[in-house]
C-alpha cells in the first residue's frame, strides 16, 4: 500500500486538517470535528447539506462552497458520517429557512440522516432530503428506490445548491434537487481495486486484463466482469444501459465523465470521444460535458458516465456560477 498517510486509523482527521489549512476561503471548521462549512458568506437562504464516507474526494467536501453546499458531514473512509455529524451540519447550514440534505442511497447514510433528522426536529430545524439513486447498474428502473447514488450526486448538489443560492424556498430546492436526481442515469466501470488505508489490503479484486461494468463506488459488484476491451467498446458498454434507462433521444443532456481516482484524465477524454459518437447516433444532444475526477473511489482505476436530461430550468441552474474545490465556474 503506497500511501501518503500517518496513522492509517486517522487518515480522515489528518486529511481534514490539511483541507482546512489549504482552503481557508472555502472551508471552515465547526464545533464538530467531522463537519465543515462554507467559509464565505451566503446570506439568508435555504441551507444545503451533504455528507458521506471519505475516500470519494473531491466528494463530498469539495462541493461545499458558493452556489453549492453549505456544510458537509464527513465519514470514515467508505463509511457514513455519524448522526451527530449530520445534525451539526444541519445546524450550521440552517439560517431559519430550513435545510435540504442531499445525499446518496447507502444504508448507513440513510440511517444516520434519519436519526439526525429526528434530533433536528427537536431543535426545530426543518430538514428535507433528496436521496440520489442514479446508478442504473445497482437495480432495474422498476426498483429505482434500491439504486445507489453515484456521480449523479454532483448534479444534485449543483442544481440544489444553485436553487438555494438564488433564494428558492426549501420545497423548491428539494423539488429541483429531486428533479436533477430523476434526470440522471449513471454507470461505472472499474479496472482495479482500491485499498482502505486502515485495512491495508485491496478491498476486492479485479484481475488484470479484466474490468467490472456497473461497479459501485466502494467496489460493490456490478453487472458483469468482462475482459478489458477497447475504450470504444467500454464506452458502448456504458452507453447501452444508460441510454436504455430514460428516453434521452431528442433531448439535450449534460454529460459527466468522472474518473474513479487513478485513471489518467486523458483516458477519460479518450473514452468520451466514443460516448459522444454514441450520443450523436442516438439523437441525444450534448449541451455540456464535464470530465475529471468528480467522484472517486480512492485509487481505483475506472470511470463513471452520467447523463442528465435537461430542460431550461435545469440548464440555467447547471450554468449558474459556483465556487468550490471541485467546481468553479463563472
Amino acid at each position: 500500500m503506497q500511501r501518503i498517510i500517518n496513522d492509517p486509523d486517522n487518515v480522515v482527521d489528518d486529511a481534514l486538517k490539511g483541507y482546512l489549512r489549504a482552503s481557508p476561503t472555502l472551508l471552515a471548521p465547526t464545533d464538530h470535528p467531522r463537519v465543515l462549512k462554507y467559509a464565505g458568506h451566503t446570506g439568508d437562504k435555504v441551507g444545503v447539506v451533504t455528507g458521506g464516507g471519505s475516500g470519494h474526494e473531491p466528494a463530498f467536501l469539495g462541493y461545499v462552497g458558493d452556489g453549492l453546499c453549505d456544510a458537509v458531514a464527513v465519514g470514515e473512509i467508505f463509511s457514513s458520517p455519524t448522526a451527530d455529524a449530520f445534525l451539526e451540519a444541519f445546524r450550521v447550514a440552517n439560517r431559519g429557512q430550513g435545510v435540504a440534505c442531499l445525499y446518496g442511497n447507502y444504508a448507513g447514510d440513510t440511517m444516520n440522516v434519519k436519526m439526525a433528522r429526528q434530533m433536528a426536529e427537536l431543535e426545530d430545524i426543518d430538514v428535507k432530503t433528496v436521496i440520489a439513486r442514479d446508478d442504473v447498474a445497482s437495480a432495474p428502473a422498476t426498483q429505482r428506490d434500491k439504486r445507489r447514488g453515484v456521480a449523479g450526486e454532483v448534479m444534485m448538489w449543483k442544481i440544489g445548491g444553485a436553487a438555494a443560492a438564488r433564494g428558492d424556498s426549501l420545497d423548491e430546492v428539494i423539488r429541483l434537487a429531486q428533479k436533477a436526481v430523476d434526470a440522471c442515469s449513471s454507470i461505472g466501470v472499474g479496472l482495479s481495486s482500491c485499498t482502505i488505508p486502515a485495512n491495508g489490503k485491496p478491498n476486492f479484486s479485479i484481475e488484470p486484463g479484466h474490468m467490472e461494468l456497473g461497479i459501485g463506488h466502494h467496489g460493490e459488484p456490478g453487472i458483469e466482469v468482462a475482459p478489458l476491451t477497447s475504450a470504444d467498446a467500454i464506452a458502448s458498454a456504458m452507453c447501452d444501459p444508460v441510454l436504455a434507462d430514460q428516453d434521452f433521444a431528442g433531448s439535450e443532456v449534460a454529460v459527466l465523465v468522472s474518473g474513479l481516482g487513478a485513471t489518467p484524465v486523458m483516458e477519460l477524454n479518450l473514452l468520451y470521444a466514443h460516448v459522444a459518437d454514441r450520443l450523436e447516433a442516438a439523437g441525444v444532444k450534448v449541451y455540456r460535458t464535464d470530465i475529471g475526477n468528480y467522484f472517486t473511489s480512492l485509487e481505483m482505476m475506472g470511470a463513471t458516465l452520467t447523463l442528465m436530461k435537461l430542460d431550461d430550468e435545469l440548464k440555467s441552474l447547471l450554468d449558474a456560477p459556483a465556487r468550490s474545490l471541485a467546481i468553479t465556474q463563472r
Binding site: 473512509i77 463509511s79 457514513s80 458520517p81 444504508a107 440511517m111 436519526m115 445497482s138 459501485g216 459488484p221
Partner: protein, 217 residues
C-alpha cells in the same frame, strides 16, 4: 436465584471492547469477502473509543451500555453506528436503575435491544446480517428459560443460538447491506455483522457466566 451484579458494568464492557479490538482484522477480512472490508475497522474504532472514555470510571451496566451506544452512534457512523448503537441503547434502557440482573432481566435486556435495533433497520432473519445471529441467540435463551433451565444454562443456549445463527449466514444470500449487490455470489461467506454480533454475545455470556460463578463461590 442467581443474579448478575450490574454495578460492575464497566468491567463487563471492557471485555466486549477487548473481543472486538482483538478481532479487528478478522472482522475486516470477513467483510472483505463480500463487503467493503472495513467492519473490523469501524467496530474497533468505536469500541476502543468507548473503552477509553470509560477507563477509570465506575459504571453500572446500564450506564456502560449507554456509553457504548452513544459512542458508537457518535463516533463510528456507517451502518454499524446506528445499528449497534440502537441495540446497546435498547439494552441500556432495559436495565436502567438495576443493581442486580436475574435471568429474566437479562432476557428482557436482549429483547429490548433487538426491538430498538428493529426500529432503525427493517432487516430480518435470513437477510444475512447481524439479526441472523441476534434473533436465534435471543430465542435460544428464551426457550431455555421457558424450559426451566437456569441462568448459566440459558447463557449456554444464548451462545449456541448465536453460533448457529452466525454459521447460518454462510449459506445465505445477502438481502441487505453492501453484500446484497452480490446476490447469489454472496453465498459461501459469513456475514461480518453476524460474526461481530456472535463475538459480542458470546463474550457477554462468558463474562456473565464467570461473574455468576464467582458470586456463587
Amino acid at each position: 436465584m442467581q443474579f448478575l451484579d450490574a454495578t460492575h458494568g464497566k468491567e463487563i464492557l471492557e471485555e466486549l471492547v477487548e473481543v472486538i479490538v482483538e478481532n479487528r482484522n478478522y472482522l475486516s477480512e470477513v467483510d472483505g469477502a463480500i463487503g467493503d472490508g472495513d467492519h473490523g475497522i469501524n467496530m474497533a474504532k468505536g469500541f476502543r473509543l468507548c473503552g477509553e472514555s470509560i477507563a477509570g470510571q465506575s459504571l453500572s451496566l446500564s450506564k456502560a451500555l449507554g456509553t457504548l451506544a452513544t459512542t458508537l452512534m457518535g463516533s463510528i457512523g456507517g451502518s454499524m453506528g446506528p445499528l449497534y448503537g440502537s441495540l446497546f441503547m435498547g439494552m441500556a434502557k432495559a436495565v436502567k436503575d438495576k443493581d442486580a440482573i436475574d435471568a429474566k432481566d437479562f432476557g428482557d435486556m436482549l429483547a429490548e435491544g433487538r426491538q430498538s435495533l428493529e426500529q432503525i433497520s427493517d432487516a430480518s432473519v435470513g437477510d444475512k446480517c447481524l439479526l441472523d445471529t441476534l434473533v436465534p441467540a435471543i430465542d435460544g435463551y428464551r426457550h431455555a428459560l421457558d424450559a426451566g433451565e437456569d441462568f448459566p444454562q440459558a447463557l449456554q443456549a444464548l451462545r449456541h443460538g448465536a453460533q448457529r445463527g452466525c454459521d447460518s449466514t454462510l449459506e445465505l444470500e445477502a438481502k441487505i447491506g453492501r453484500a446484497a449487490r452480490l446476490g447469489e455470489r454472496s453465498r459461501g461467506h459469513l456475514d461480518a455483522g453476524a460474526v461481530s454480533c456472535c463475538l459480542l454475545l458470546t463474550r457477554l455470556a462468558d463474562s456473565t457466566e464467570r461473574r455468576l460463578e464467582k458470586a456463587a463461590a
